[in-house]
């Protein structure tokens, strides 16, 4: 099939046309799960060069496609059947929508005459997913399939990326339906009169931004996921170094600027480090680069960065002024915008064009020395400290290791304590905060880069949501590694209950022992270890890193009452940041 070309029409049915269209888009892998309505599309997969990864739950297909997209920049593709399969993939669609992940999701639908009759496994998939996809479509004729696929990939990957869903009724892909056959040609163009995202910002907006940057005395580059989406890490570094401008990287942008760089302040926000948070608060110019003033970054909006002028660079016009009105609005692709800025600044004298940021840098260094990220290492007979586990793991893994995480305390500790020196090494669920993201996302990442080490840092709550995808990993020979930080609790919820609900621990206890994670992992074909003693951490990680022919799960038995600090209480001002208890009392 893959030898078909657009110039020689071939008579195909809709199912064959769908698979061939995916091939025409260069799709290498589809994460999916078959079922009644999508059956006809699964038949031609047998003859296709596209790899299909059979997940164990449709949610896993969606997150795996996201993981693949995060690390490659290419659209992740998932395919499931109608009804419950479509509703099971709603969560990954919402996740991809909030984190601007390029994804194409194909769902089966009941046959056209059955639509609207409450048929078996029927649901209004395009209706349900309308507000959580960048675009969706119900295809009603077999001959429209190639165009639908072509447009879906175009929409998913251009402008602000996002998920696009194609709903395909069974009869138009059915090999037994004579009306499902047509002469296949792949459309060379797209016909979307209402869709034309502009990549290049207006020169006047770039000029205005450059003027502000040259004047600023306390600037901060507030870098978000848009820099990674635009493949802009390299020019970001040029811009930051030229201007001697400190950089904060949001949860979605970890790795967009090297953590080990002297200008890097790390992650801002609710669990950001003191210097990153406070630098924004005291800044006189925030250059928001592909970031969206998320409430987890700004805290109380009215008290956020009160002295800062705002330059907002984002390809989505609707992000400008949504939360904070910018002083300079640069609508366009972050990389293109930064290249224009760098060129303009070089013409104005490069580094010499900027104000002297030495006093600002000195102030920041002072905060960094006074309020580094910190925790108390475990005493000899104590259970493990999760931060310590993350640090040990970080130090034992190659620099290009891909790390995914679920959502909760373990996610924050991983973001805080890993050292992200390369873009596209951090895969996580930022906007939607989807528990259970890490294992399927790691599978997607490892599928894209089989030769790289991929660790999923997971919590015990998350592991119980999607752990069954380790069967997928074993069967499909996708040897990911899982560091399970088992603290026996829904730790983040417990932390809030401790701090804000008078230590009334409501429905957050999961237990260290139940389930037996080692037995469970082994039953899924993984090699599994349990670590309870701090002295075993390094040696077990070393063992895990030696294994590359099957998935590995390392259960780290962690303290239950460890909390993520710093913390800005929800709804509070970033000025009210709580640092680690050991650092309190001497706050400025």
């Amino acid at each position: 099939m893959s030898e078909q070309s657009t110039s020689q029409p071939t008579r195909l049915n809709g199912g064959q046309a769908l698979i061939l269209s995916l091939e025409m888009e260069g799709v290498e892998v589809v994460f999916g799960y078959p079922g009644g309505a999508i059956l006809p599309v699964y038949d031609p997969i047998i003859d296709s060069k596209i790899r299909h990864v059979l997940v164990r739950h449709e949610q896993g297909a969606g997150h795996a496609a996201e993981g693949y997209a995060h690390v490659t920049g290419k659209p992740g593709v998932c395919m499931v059947t109608s009804g419950p399969a479509a509703t099971n993939i709603v969560t990954p669609l919402a996740d991809a929508y909030l984190d601007s992940v390029p994804m194409v999701c194909i769902t089966g639908q009941v046959a056209l005459p059955a639509i609207g009759t409450d048929a078996f496994q029927e649901c209004d998939t395009t209706g349900i997913t309308r507000s959580i996809t960048k675009h969706n479509m119900l295809v009603t004729r077999a001959e429209d399939i190639p165009r639908a696929v072509h447009e879906a990939f175009h929409i998913a990957t251009t402008g602000r990326p996002g998920p696009v869903l194609i709903d395909v009724p069974k009869d138009i892909v059915d090999a037994n339906n004579p009306n499902a056959y047509f002469d296949f040609t792949y459309p060379p163009d797209i016909d979307l009169p209402g869709y034309a995202p502009a990549a290049a910002p207006s020169p006047t907006s770039v000029d205005a931004a450059v003027e502000e940057m040259m004047k600023a005395e306390r600037p901060v580059l507030y870098v978000g996921g848009g820099v990674l989406k635009s493949r802009g890490a390299e020019v970001l570094r040029r811009l930051a170094e030229m201007g001697n401008i400190p950089v904060v990287t949001t949860l979605m942008a970890r790795g967009a600027f090297p953590d080990s760089h002297e200008l890097c302040l790390g992650m801002p926000g609710m669990h950001g480090n003191y210097t990153a948070v406070t630098a924004m608060q005291r800044s006189d110019l925030l250059v928001a680069m592909g970031s969206r003033f998320d409430d987890r970054v700004t805290g109380k909006v009215g008290a956020f960065a009160p002295e800062a002028k705002i330059i907002h660079v984002d390809i989505d016009p609707a992000e400008h002024g949504k939360v904070r009105r910018p002083d300079v609005s640069v609508v366009g692709d972050c990389r293109v915008a930064m290249e224009a800025m760098v060129a303009k600044l070089e013409a104005k004298g490069g580094s010499k064009a900027f104000a002297d940021h030495t006093p600002w840098r000195r102030q920041l260094s002072g905060w960094q020395e006074k309020y580094p990220l910190t925790y108390q290492p475990s005493a000899p007979d104590e259970l493990l400290k999760p931060q310590q586990v993350v640090e040990s793991l970080r130090d034992a893994c190659p620099a290009d290791t891909i790390v995914s995480s679920g959502v909760g305390q373990h996610q924050m500790w991983t973001s805080q304590y890993w050292r992200f020196d390369h873009p596209y090494t951090w895969v996580n669920s930022g906007g939607l905060g989807t528990m259970g993201f890490s294992i399927p996302a790691a599978i997607g990442a490892k599928t894209a880069f089989p030769d790289r080490m991929v660790w999923a840092v997971d919590g015990d709550g998350c592991f119980q949501m999607t752990g069954q995808e380790l069967i997928t990993a074993s069967v499909e020979r996708i040897p990911i590694k899982v560091a399970l930080l088992n603290n026996a609790y829904l730790g983040m919820v417990r932390q809030w209950q401790e701090l804000f609900y008078e230590e009334r621990y409501s429905e957050v206890y999961l237990s260290h022992e139940m389930p037996d994670y080692v037995k469970w992992a082994e039953s899924m074909g993984c090699v599994a270890f349990r670590v309870e003693d701090p002295s075993e951490v390094d040696v077990t990680i070393a063992k895990a890193n030696e294994i590359d022919d099957r998935p590995v799960v390392v259960e780290f038995r962690c303290h239950s009452d460890e909390k993520v600090y710093p913390m800005v209480p929800a709804g509070g001002s970033n000025d009210d940041i709580l640092v680690d208890p050991s650092q309190r009392g001497d706050a400025e």
Binding site: R130, G194, P317, G321
Partner: protein, 173 residues
Amino acid sequence: MTDNTPHRTIVVLVENKAGVLARVADLFARRGYNIISLAVAPTHDDRFSRLTIVVDVESVPLDQIVKQLFKLVNVVEIAELSPSESVERELMMATIKAPQETRGQIIEIVDIFEGKILAVSPDHLTVSLDGRPSKLDDFESLIDAYSIVELQRSGRIALPKIGRDVPRLRAIV
């Protein structure tokens, strides 16, 4: 009634495809924007439909509404029609209780407003009226005294005045 809340009128050109109206309505619902009135029909070019939407701009700026609308793939063009730069019309139909004693007064009001009587029964009248939305507001407040049984307004439609350059809020060519 529309004059009490700060509102603006936009015309939205959309691709004439299944579900587009639902996309627009969904967007307003999801983002918490408020539609005061909405009229929709295909244009002379049947590839496109035109929506005239009167939007409440009290809680959210028009700018945000327009930018979010533009993110819909099927939205082709949006323009704002200010009252001074456009001609606006709306249609109203109403069935009013009209017993012998008040029938004459009602007919008189309908005449003054150049409305039409569409149907008559021994104690009811169905009338229609078209014109500027403010004229319909005035008519509605006058006949309110006579027990309205049912009333339907079409929502306003508008076109730019001839020769006026309407600001395209963000046009894609």
